[in-house]
């Protein structure tokens, strides 16, 4: 949907995922959308270099989120939110309901 604007499908998926969930890491995003890990990693790298995303190490995982200092962040988020409204309902629901609350180790999912 935003591919003509953002230049690639992976870039759109990364940004939509982070907009919906606040943060994410490449393998998780690639798995969620069923797309290749390499293009996702490449786009996240590019978005970080461009100052749109920032990353922090959490445990053994490098997590990415929006850079609050990115000057066009409010406008970008506005576009992403609008695009999210046009996503297929099942994909949108899956994204927004993706579990982020704590779950005790050993407990079935």
């Amino acid at each position: 949907m935003l591919e003509p604007l953002l230049g690639s499908k992976s870039s759109e998926k990364v940004l939509i995922f982070i907009e919906a969930l606040g943060e994410g890491y490449p393998r998780e995003i690639a798995r969620f959308f069923g797309i290749g890990l390499t293009p996702v990693q490449k786009q996240m790298d590019k978005l970080e270099l461009g100052g749109i995303l920032v990353s922090f190490v959490k445990g053994k995982t490098r997590m990415y989120s929006f850079n609050p200092r990115y000057v066009f962040l409010a406008e970008l988020k506005g576009i992403l939110n609008k695009a999210l409204n046009f996503y297929p309902p099942e994909e949108k629901e899956k994204l927004l309901l993706n579990r982020r609350r704590p779950r005790r180790r050993g407990k079935g999912l």
């Binding site: 100052g51 200092r69 000057v71």
Partner: protein, 181 residues
């Protein structure tokens, strides 16, 4: 010309900036190196962040930096004769939603250095404290504010607009404690 090995951080930043200028690339010093300059070495940083304000492609940076002996490693530029690491964060030069308008120019024997103003330097550090609760950035903001003439009312109104008055008060308290010492 002084050898890179003997250049201070500010001299090196001025040297790189002046070289880039001859290639049509304009950059402005921000981040920790600006703090080091405004605190006269009370804060030390190995990084030199030169914000790209001419929006050129990466290849142009790589070519220009290679000419003066720097090479790219993990997005940064390094040189065998210096411990300083150079990075080119993307523009526009801004703090929060606001464009940075005032730029100071400092002359060194190695070239001319364009650097964000003292007040913007404080705001830049405070932004990191406001967004990520980074205590080191708070300490740096306090140091710059202590040793320079800054526009405090501009910082107050910016903090108000961004909803960070509680954190601003903490900055103000730390600053008064330090200035009363």
């Amino acid at each position: 010309m002084k050898n890179i090995k003997r250049m201070t951080q500010a001299e090196l930043a001025a040297f790189v900036q002046s070289h880039l200028q001859t290639k049509g690339i304009r950059v402005v010093l921000s981040g920790g190196a600006a703090v080091a300059i405004y605190t006269k070495g009370r804060y030390v940083s190995a990084d030199i962040d030169l914000v790209d304000v001419s929006f050129v492609n990466r290849k142009k940076f790589i070519d220009a930096m290679n000419e003066i002996g720097f090479h790219e490693k993990n997005r940064y530029f390094i040189h065998p004769d210096t411990k300083h690491i150079i990075e080119f964060p993307p523009g526009p030069l801004s703090i929060g939603d606001e464009p940075v308008r005032k730029i100071n120019e400092i002359k060194y024997s190695t070239g001319s250095l364009r650097v964000i103003s003292e007040t913007d330097c404080v705001k830049d550090r405070l932004a990191a404290y406001y967004y990520w609760d980074d205590q080191q950035s708070l300490e740096q903001a306090v140091l710059v504010a202590k040793y320079n003439q800054i526009n405090l009312s501009e910082i107050v109104s910016w903090s108000e607009t961004t909803g960070n008055m509680i954190k601003f008060k903490k900055f103000q308290n730390k600053l008064s404690l330090l200035t009363s010492e």
